[in-house]
């Protein structure tokens, strides 16, 4: 029996950004003998370079591709990321960390946040919640170390990277080309479709070259050249829930610490990111154009950044939502071509990675079966929908009323799926249980509590412990974490020892 009917599936990837090269590298590395990959990229079209900050899942992707962490970090000028700091979200002046780890020890039959809720409701003076998460404490301390093994507190977290996305694509390109991916430079001028099936037969380039394929992967970014423009797959617009539609980005020199976390600072009409890399700090203001002009947004960002600007501010336009289906006919869209969710929780590269993983798990034959396609769409839709709810929560759970933007998001109707989650939390500190999906219990706890939603009830099993005993164990835990964290290396010096970028750079 032949491996696949008729040999290799000819995969044509359109677009050479992060999504395009991640896809190409993964397919040639993981499906040798099944996929021949031909990537088309245009020099004249810029790269968005989305997602300088990532989620811990990226480590698994890199490992699968055999990427050496220190080498990858040095070449993309990467730093470590233990979580995201949210400033001014629930109220101006607030700051909390969404850590990539648990609160408390992560063991025990009743989750830590039930005890915490009870103490809050009893009006006890408590330390910052961050200090009871190992990852949170490590982040606040400006420290980094690889997680320990063996069930200790120092093993209750994961980590991700903050890196220069414009350097990541070339890094993957080298891997992909070494493993046999073909690359053609050119701009797509037309898409040739089968009159009957509507499938894409070939793309024509400005050079006159024609590239045929069995499967076309649209990594063309916001243009969505194949899925959006050629196949006209409708777009499900979520901007009534996520009204930000522009970002102005501007890197600057790093003046303060190279923090092992990304910051998301709420602004009058959106929020601002701060992503420290080895050589500079990325900044951007994500805003809703209905509430602030481009000029005012640019000015606001210019005032807020900490150091000298390293480039002129650049404005990006987008709309929250996704294509109704990501895979139609023989065309799969990956990355921005399939949809967009603002980078508040660093999910862009994660969504690319999940799409690639699903494509590999459901890799088709030359004749594509609806079974593979439908399953792919089911899996991807679920990812988008769950992230969407989590993002909306950040805007909804606020008491801010200092600008029309915050008035709108605070009072807007939210999806039923999110209302149910919130109700369950408010009632008895329960998190809607699911195992599949990116943000699990501690993430929801961090945002709920960080933005001031304290449940009215908690798990009754907590009531068997006396308040004094609870306070003692909270203090013991805080002290143990603080003591352990104090012995860990400073983030900057860890990087210098482990993965410093080349000096010439």
């Amino acid at each position: 029996m032949p491996l696949t009917a008729g040999g290799d599936v000819r995969v044509v990837v359109v677009g050479g950004g992060t999504a395009g090269w991640m896809t190409a590298a993964a397919l040639v590395r993981l499906l040798p003998g099944h996929a021949s990959v031909h990537l088309v990229e245009s020099k004249t079209i810029g790269v968005v370079g989305v997602g300088e900050a990532t989620l811990p899942h990226m480590r698994a992707f890199n490992e699968r591709l055999g990427i050496d962490e220190a080498d990858f970090m040095a070449r993309t000028r990467a730093t470590f990321k233990l979580g995201i700091e949210f400033r001014d979200w629930g109220r101006i002046g607030d700051s909390y960390i969404h850590p990539f780890g648990t609160f408390g020890r992560g063991t025990g039959t009743v989750d830590f946040h039930h005890y915490w809720t009870r103490l809050l409701r009893e009006g006890k003076a408590l330390p910052a919640l961050d200090s009871l998460s190992y990852a949170g404490a490590l982040a606040r301390g400006g420290k980094f170390d690889h997680p320990a093994t063996g069930g200790t507190l120092a093993g209750t977290y994961g980590y991700a990277y903050q890196f220069d996305a414009l350097l990541f694509a070339p890094y993957l390109r080298q891997i992909a080309q070494e493993s046999g991916a073909r690359r053609t430079e050119g701009t797509v001028v037309s898409v040739d479709r089968d009159g009957e099936s509507g499938d894409i037969k070939a793309i024509d380039l400005d050079s006159g070259e024609r590239i045929e394929g069995d499967l076309f992967v649209d990594c063309s970014g916001f243009r969505s050249l194949l899925l959006g423009s050629a196949l006209e797959e409708p777009f499900a617009d979520w901007s009534h829930w996520l009204p930000t539609d522009r970002a102005v980005a501007m890197p600057c020199r790093t003046r303060t610490a190279v923090t092992p976390y990304t910051s998301a600072i709420a602004m009058p009409s959106g929020w601002r990111w701060r992503i420290p890399l080895q050589h500079r700090t990325g900044n951007g203001y994500v805003y809703a154009s209905a509430f602030v002009s481009d000029d005012d947004a640019r000015r606001a960002l210019g005032t807020a950044v900490e150091g000298e600007a390293l480039a002129a501010p650049r404005v990006l336009r987008f709309k929250a939502g996704r294509r109704r289906r990501s895979w139609v006919g023989n065309c799969v869209a990956i990355g921005l071509a399939s949809g967009f969710l603002e980078p508040l929780e660093s999910t862009s590269i994660y969504l690319v990675q999940q799409a690639i993983t699903a494509l590999i798990e459901l890799f088709p034959e030359r004749r594509i079966s609806a079974t593979d396609r439908d399953e792919f769409n089911r899996v991807i839709d679920l990812e988008y929908d769950r992230i969407r709810d989590f993002l909306i929560l950040h805007y909804h759970a606020t008491t801010r009323s200092d600008s029309p933007f915050w008035d709108y998001v605070r009072t807007m109707p939210i999806p039923d799926t999110l209302s149910e989650k919130l109700d369950l939390w408010r009632t008895r500190a329960r998190i809607v249980k699911y195992r599949e999906g990116v943000f699990l219990d501690p993430s929801w706890v961090a945002v709920y509590l960080g933005q001031g939603i304290v449940p009215e009830g908690w798990d009754p099993r907590v009531d068997t412990v006396a308040t004094v005993a609870l306070l003692d164990s909270v203090e013991a835990l805080r002290a143990e974490i603080a003591g352990d964290v104090a012995c860990r290396p400073d983030h900057r010096s860890f990087i210098e020892r482990y993965c410093a970028m080349p000096q010439a750079a």
Partner: protein, 489 residues
């Protein structure tokens, strides 16, 4: 209102399910006042009457603090490593569904996907020969999973001596502080449309509580007094009668389940049974079938109405076991579903008055779990290959949507989609599907990135390791005897 604490729970029921619920609630939330109303057990409550259990019972007992000595050895339980299916797919050998891994994978694709390629090449040994637990079970041998040996990565269920087990659980429950009231239910006094004010007893007394747990079997004496809404599963699960018999035999480490034109019959040592469709065989003929198969005289037929309550929890009354879900005992899920509901209640304990969101979330999870168990059982019929009218009808019946999705994905390329609240592991699904000859059309590309020859060698090495280690493991009977000796010494 939300601040008020849950204080008093009454559990109604006289079987294992009720004792498990009462003991677990008191053990995990000691401040609760838990009373059991121990009424006469319902003869039709399968969760209380089927001797074979899934591995979940062991974990449940362990969480309560009931260890091997009290929870297994002193109650005369046997270990179960799996089920042998005989006659489910004509022309194919019998197969074992064991509770553990089948093979060790090579690379990113699951082992069973590699096996599928070997099968297409015609070089595969039977799928269950790659399962250490299945090999032990077929040989009648037993050892608890041991990480450093080939006999690792599996779990075991039990074959219970039901009266002794119930007595043990009762003693344990009383020991941890359960109050026992012996009496019969005369009726239920409602408070509004969806709340129970009190249970009236035959002796004229009444029991009130914040929360009532209905473990009274299919009659659902409490929950049934509020409403009778249920989802019917009989289109996919044909058996509506079960006969039980008690042959005089030692518990078997491998339970044999044999397909019959009217259903299936089984033998687990001390308990034998026949699940059948009443429209395919008469009760008296069915009794003869079971007597011939087991050598023991069956009792009265138990009636099953396959289906579930979409809202096992309504108001202040929560149904568990057969009061919530009735399902034929194929794959031994009856007690398992009850234990799972008890665990879920404990992790979702409400205040004195449960809010609708809490109840809805409990019901959502419980229903999803029950429906997925239904799917697993329905899959046995849907993919069986037998040429009798009953079986042909079942094989032709459109499956529930969630099962259809799994079957379509598996048939195409061997994908087993993830489901929340899934009871059975992917290897369990694969063991039955492959055992019944339901094979994927395509070999997954991730499999063929590894050369077939090296996979063949590695697979052969794995089975050889199992075979070589097998003779050094004691027989199930010897293992049990040694455990008993150890205790009495």
């Amino acid at each position: 209102m939300r601040g008020e604490r849950l204080e008093r729970i009454v559990v109604a029921g006289g079987g294992i399910t009720a004792w498990c619920a009462a003991a677990a609630l008191k053990r995990h939330a000691p401040s609760l006042d838990v009373t059991i109303l121990a009424c006469t057990p319902s003869p039709d409550a399968l969760a209380d009457r089927i001797a074979c259990t899934l591995p979940s019972l062991l974990g449940f007992q362990e969480d309560l603090g009931i260890g091997v000595a009290d929870g297994i050895v002193r109650t005369g339980s046997g270990y179960r490593l799996g089920t042998l299916f005989v006659g489910w797919a004509a022309g194919l050998p019998d197969y074992v569904h064991a509770y553990g891994r089948y093979g060790t994978s090579f690379g990113p694709a699951a082992f069973y996907l590699h096996w599928v390629r070997s099968a297409q090449d015609g070089t595969a040994a039977p799928f269950d020969s790659h399962s250490p637990a299945a090999a032990l079970a077929r040989a009648g041998r037993f050892v608890p999973p041991t990480a450093t040996s080939p006999f690792a990565d599996y779990e075991c269920g039990l074959t219970l001596d039901l009266p002794r087990h119930a007595a043990m659980l009762r003693a344990f429950a009383l020991h941890v502080g359960i109050r026992e009231i012996v009496g019969e239910i005369a009726g239920v006094t409602l408070d509004g449309d969806t709340a129970i004010a009190a249970i009236r007893l035959v002796d004229g007394s009444a029991q009130s509580a914040d929360l009532f747990i209905d473990a009274t079997g299919p009659e659902a004496r409490l929950r049934g007094s509020i409403d009778a809404v249920r989802d019917d599963w009989s289109a996919w699960l044909p058996c509506d009668r079960v006969l039980l018999a008690e042959p005089d035999a030692e518990p078997a480490v491998l339970t044999t389940v044999t397909a019959h034109q009217a259903g299936w019959h089984w033998s687990s040592g001390g308990q034998a049974g026949f699940a059948y469709a009443a429209n395919a065989i008469s009760d008296s003929k069915a009794a003869r079938v079971l007597r011939n198969a087991s050598g023991a005289t069956p009792g009265e037929p138990i009636r099953i109405r396959s289906g579930t309550r979409p809202q096992p929890w309504l108001g202040n009354c929560l149904a568990i076991g057969d009061a919530a879900t009735q399902i034929e005992p194929l794959e031994w899920c009856n007690l398992h579903l009850a234990l799972s509901a008890i665990d879920r209640l404990i992790t979702m304990l409400p205040g004195r008055i449960a809010t609708p969101v809490e109840v809805a979330e409990f019901n959502r999870q419980t229903r999803a779990e029950a429906e997925r168990v239904r799917d697993f059982l329905a899959m046995h019929y849907r993919t069986a290959q037998r040429d009798n009218p009953l079986w042909r009808t079942l094989a032709a019946t459109a499956p529930p949507a969630s099962l259809a999705h799994t079957l379509v994905q598996f048939a195409e390329r061997g994908r087993l989609p993830f489901h929340e609240e899934e009871t059975f592991a992917r290897d369990s699904w694969a063991a039955v599907l492959i055992g019944q000859g339901f094979l994927p059309r395509r070999v997954d590309p991730l499999v063929s990135t590894i050369p077939a020859a090296s996979v063949r060698t590695a697979m052969a090495r794995q089975t050889a390791a199992i075979t070589a280690a097998l003779p050094h493991v004691p027989t199930h009977a010897a293992y049990r005897a040694a455990q008993t000796r150890h205790l009495t010494r």
